[in-house]
């Protein structure tokens, strides 16, 4: 065995070792999820060297260099980090917007709309690159195939999902089979499959290449409105439903693996953390729950006082959980150890519909009906910046992978790019 190269993965922090074994090139991922701005690089390097035979004394210095680079990436952000200004306003669609997404490089962004199209935007110029048209009704869900980002999947109220090529804008395949609106569609991490969630109470799995249906996941007793593959393998799938449960499925078999029940009202979102050991769920019953995916039990319940929890998300390393409340408060919790509340973000005057962490984890971004988006220090809960300027409620927001760009989508039919 011989080490060829170190590759860096910024978010979540990790190192990928590329090596040869009997002439075949292989790679191995090492997660460094604990890395933060106080980490001792020498000590981490010592640990890694002990565990990995591939890391010899010759490459020790290179390893430390890599760790320093990763550490810098986390430090460059945070309360003393950058401020965002309106960079471009995309006057997007004739009719209201639905969901938005960035590609991995943060150079293109896609928007879905009630005008039945999905548009691709150049973030740099603010210009429209492509209009993906063909759906017969509202385009509700949009997504890229990470990390390559040469394909787009759209889920529509016309009961179909479509896969499009980014470069030409042509529709590669149309995924039929649902008997009601599709409200979520996602590529599996390796891009081989697409999963869809629908108001017809089912979720489906399709072959991304051929567009043929692989499985139908039956088991929910109400509309399925949230769906996510496990972020690393893409072999497991969770679905959240208005029936108040979250289901876990294995993409290789048709049957349900587990039902996570305990919420007493509709689920508003369900998410895996990075290593898919945990699932976070938000519900209109006013609570968010953390679930252990191996034990399939609820390990913690946090409640927002008399408010619905409208969104939930993990930070990129999967160590903290953030919730968005209809009372205009966002909260951050420790997800691994004791689930205690780490910070409370107060300031929005109306409900928060979307919450997300910056990739390095220093900031939290919230989108609110009070027409502002806000950036918060994720550890203190202090508001770092108010992104104002939209004329209508903001219902969606996202960070680019590099963390240097933010997109917000509003009921005023515009999208704003902040840098």
């Amino acid at each position: 065995m011989k080490l060829l190269k170190f590759h860096l993965r910024y978010h979540p922090p990790g190192i990928i070792l590329e090596y040869t074994k009997k002439g075949i090139v292989k790679s191995k991922d090492i997660d460094l999820l604990e890395l933060n701005c106080n980490s001792d690089v020498k000590q981490i390097a010592d640990n890694l060297q002990q565990k990995e035979a591939l890391i010899t004394d010759e490459v020790r210095e290179q390893l430390e260099q890599c760790l320093v680079t990763l550490k810098k990436r986390i430090e460059h952000e945070g309360p003393t980090g950058k401020r965002f200004y309106i960079y471009k306003t995309l006057v997007t669609h004739l009719l209201p917007l639905t969901n938005v997404a960035f590609d991995k490089a943060g150079s293109r962004c896609i928007t879905g709309s009630y005008d039945r199209t999905c548009k691709v935007w150049d973030v740099e110029t603010g210009g429209e690159l492509k209009t993906l048209s063909g759906h017969q009704n509202v385009v509700y869900s949009v997504g890229f195939n990470y990390p390559i980002c040469n394909l787009v999947v759209t889920g529509s109220f016309d009961k179909s999902a479509r896969i499009w090529r980014m470069d030409t804008g042509e529709c590669v395949s149309t995924l039929w089979g649902h008997s009601a609106e599709i409200v979520a569609a996602q590529f599996a991490p390796r891009g081989a499959h697409v999963a869809t969630a629908s108001m017809d109470h089912t979720a489906k799995l399709y072959d991304a290449l051929t567009g043929t249906e692989v499985h139908t996941y039956i088991g929910h007793s109400a509309e399925v409105i949230a769906l996510q593959f496990d972020p690393t393998e893409g072999q497991r799938l969770i679905t959240g439903s208005f029936d108040g449960t979250i289901c876990m499925w294995d993409t290789r078999i048709k049957e349900r693996v587990a039902v996570l029940s305990g919420h007493t009202a509709e689920i508003s979102n369900a998410q895996y953390n990075w290593d898919s050991s945990l699932v976070g769920s938000a519900s209109l019953d006013g609570s968010a729950k953390l679930w252990d995916t191996r034990e399939r039990t609820c390990i913690a319940t946090v409640t927002a006082a008399a408010a619905e929890v409208l969104d939930v998300c993990f930070d990129w390393a999967g160590r903290r959980l953030a919730t968005a409340g209809s009372d205009g408060t966002a909260r951050v919790y420790e997800a691994l150890a004791d689930c205690r509340e780490l910070a409370t973000m107060q300031g929005h005057r109306e409900e928060i519909s979307k919450v997300c962490f910056s990739p390095a984890g220093g900031c939290l971004l919230t989108a609110s009906a009070d027409k502002t988006a806000r950036i918060w220090n994720a550890s203190t809960g202090n508001c770092v910046q108010v992104l104002s300027g939209h004329q209508g409620e903001i219902f969606s927001c996202a960070f680019s992978y590099a963390g240097d760009t933010v997109v917000t989508a509003s009921k005023d039919n515009t999208c704003r790019i902040w840098r």
Binding site: L94, L95, P96, T98, N99, Y114, D115, R116, N137, V138, Y140, F157, E181, V183, M199, A222, E223, I225, F242, E266, S268, L310, E351, S353, K354, A369, Q391, G392, E393, F395, S396, K411, N413
Partner: protein, 189 residues
């Protein structure tokens, strides 16, 4: 000044309103040409201030309680360029409400054609129709009976219908229309 209807509440709320609803919940679709008074009517139903209403680019949703029913009213913009998108909203409609500006004589034919097209759509087949003959406070407004004639309502055979004279800005006649709606709720499958 608020230029939008305040209870839009994000994308999740759209999905909640889109659900196949329980027995005592209804989906009402509010259509008509631009400047017919749909948003004013919606605000009047929700007992909100109607002094500042701007053209709707898109749609507004409101839930109104009436006679023990929860009415989810979808108010869709009526400008010509967005009329082709009305079809987006047809699914699962329980009652169609069509609003006519009775003082706009010139566009009576246009509104009549739009209505005729709606009534031919498959997704709206058999859906009861309520026509609000709006702006009756204006001196030039045609009476409801004449509007019914012009719209050809008497020729409708495949659904129940009703025409109701009203003034959306002060609420005259609005309640009577809603009472008809509650009495004519189609039997759910």
């Amino acid at each position: 000044m608020r230029t939008h209807v305040p209870n839009f509440q994000g994308l999740l709320n759209i999905l909640r309103k889109l659900r196949s609803h329980p027995e005592k919940e209804l989906r009402l679709l509010l259509l008509g040409l631009d400047n017919a008074g749909k948003t004013t009517l919606l605000k009047q139903l929700a007992s909100e201030d109607v002094t500042h209403v701007t053209p709707t680019a898109g749609f507004n949703i409101k839930s109104v309680l009436s006679n023990g029913f929860k009415l989810n009213v979808w108010d869709i913009g009526g400008q010509r360029k967005i009329r082709p998108y009305w079809r987006n909203y047809f699914e699962n409609t329980d009652i169609l409400i069509y609003v006519v500006d009775c003082s706009d004589h010139q566009r009576l034919e246009e509104t009549s054609l739009e209505l005729a097209e709606l009534l031919q759509d498959d997704k709206l087949r058999g859906v009861p129709l309520l026509v609000y003959a709006n702006k009756q406070d204006l001196a030039t407004a045609l009476p409801a009976s004449e509007v019914a004639q012009d719209l050809g309502l008497h020729l409708i055979r495949d659904r129940t219908w009703q025409i109701q004279a009203c003034v959306a800005t002060d609420g005259t006649g609005v309640k009577e229309g809603m009472e008809w709606v509650c009495k004519n709720i189609p039997v759910k499958k």
